[in-house]
């Protein structure tokens, strides 16, 4: 396929795991956000967005995540983002301080493991 990004989702009980493969920029950020929101059902307590296979992310993608975080918070749902330590995307999070606003973990196992404290609510 010729798509810039591919979104895959899985439901693990009340946790929705969404993996983003490829690149996000201003040409597809809206589409990617729509696809993520479609995947998050009403029964979802927590959304984990896995960026392990995201090979490019700039302010368009960061703004997407902020938007998503706001919407999740309004619906009392939690959001975690998986960004491996050596990922090219990690820098963008650190340099913009987004890791202080959105719950960022290094491995999806950490995000999927049992109940976490209301992290994002405290920090926002």
């Amino acid at each position: 396929m010729n798509e810039l990004a591919r979104v895959e989702s899985e439901q693990h009980g009340s946790v929705c795991l969404v993996r983003i493969f490829g690149e996000i920029d201003m040409s597809n950020d809206r589409d990617v956000l729509s696809e993520i929101e479609v995947a998050v059902g009403r029964e979802t307590d927590r959304l984990v967005v896995d960026l392990t296979h995201t090979t490019y992310l700039d302010s368009a993608g960061l703004a997407l995540l902020l938007r998503l975080a706001e919407r999740m918070q309004a619906r009392q749902q939690m959001l975690s983002v998986v960004v491996p330590v050596d990922s090219p995307v990690r820098r963008a999070f650190e340099l913009t301080g987004l890791a202080n606003v959105i719950d960022v973990v290094s491995r999806s196992e950490d995000a999927l493991s049992e109940t976490r404290p209301g992290h994002s609510n405290d920090q926002m």
Binding site: M1, D25, M26, S59
Partner: protein, 306 residues
Amino acid sequence: MGQLRMALRAYALEEGSPSQVVGRVRRLVRVLVPDIVTLIYLVFDPESGTLRFANAGHPPPLLVEGNGEISYLEGGLGPPLGATAHPRQDIDVAAHLDAGSTLLLFTDGLVERRGTSILDGLTRLKTLAADPGQDLEALCDHLLGSMVTEEVSDDIALLALRQVSLTAEPLFLRLPAEPQVLAPLRQTVRRWLREIDADPGIVDDVLVACGEASANAIQHAYGAKDGLFEVSLVLSDGAVEVTIRDLGSWRPSSGSGRAARRGGLGQRLMRALMDSVDVDSGSEGTVVRMRRSLQVEVDRERTRAR
């Protein structure tokens, strides 16, 4: 023919290999079109220089390599579309375009002449294309001018493709100010940075900074018809200098809209990722100049300082 082109585009998006695309069009032609149609379908990857194609009865591509060797890519020739009741499988042919090589694609109107065989035309073309020169426009003019000396009944199409070497030469691009150009722009900039052996971490940083400035240029041009913007990268004194210029007028971001949010983050990222950023905004456009040293020691200092 219009239907065939639409179908070809649709299959091109779906199918993996040229032979699969051609195979599907072949099956469609039997249903749709009573004529014989020739088709050559090629996929070229500028990063690796790899060319793959499938050929249904079309004249072969002419490859002029960087070292001067010239040959027709005659492999895998299948029957034209619509020609046979039980077509055999279309096959894929692979070739490689080295830096400096030129590929010529054309319709048979270029090489067919009443009273002479097509082989004569192909031989003539090969002789004429032997020294293609730098300028592809001039090459096409020269070939058309020399090959087409009388009235022809067929339309003639000629396409020239050159694989450019990016090593250390300044990169200069002029692009439509549309979001869809960002991905191919990244691919080209990535290639250029790899050619100059930039550290992978620095490549990622420069790509994002470049992406931010380009996204801004595209945003500034919104509403302008045929808006263009320019991107240049130059290696100078062990640093990459990126210049991005647009011709739009600065529109202040309205409130908390998507553009404003992205803009604030974008500025922060650009300045954090590059050693220096200069933004010069005027009524005639904006020029962004950024610089990033390629030395990894300097990079470590930056990380520590954060």
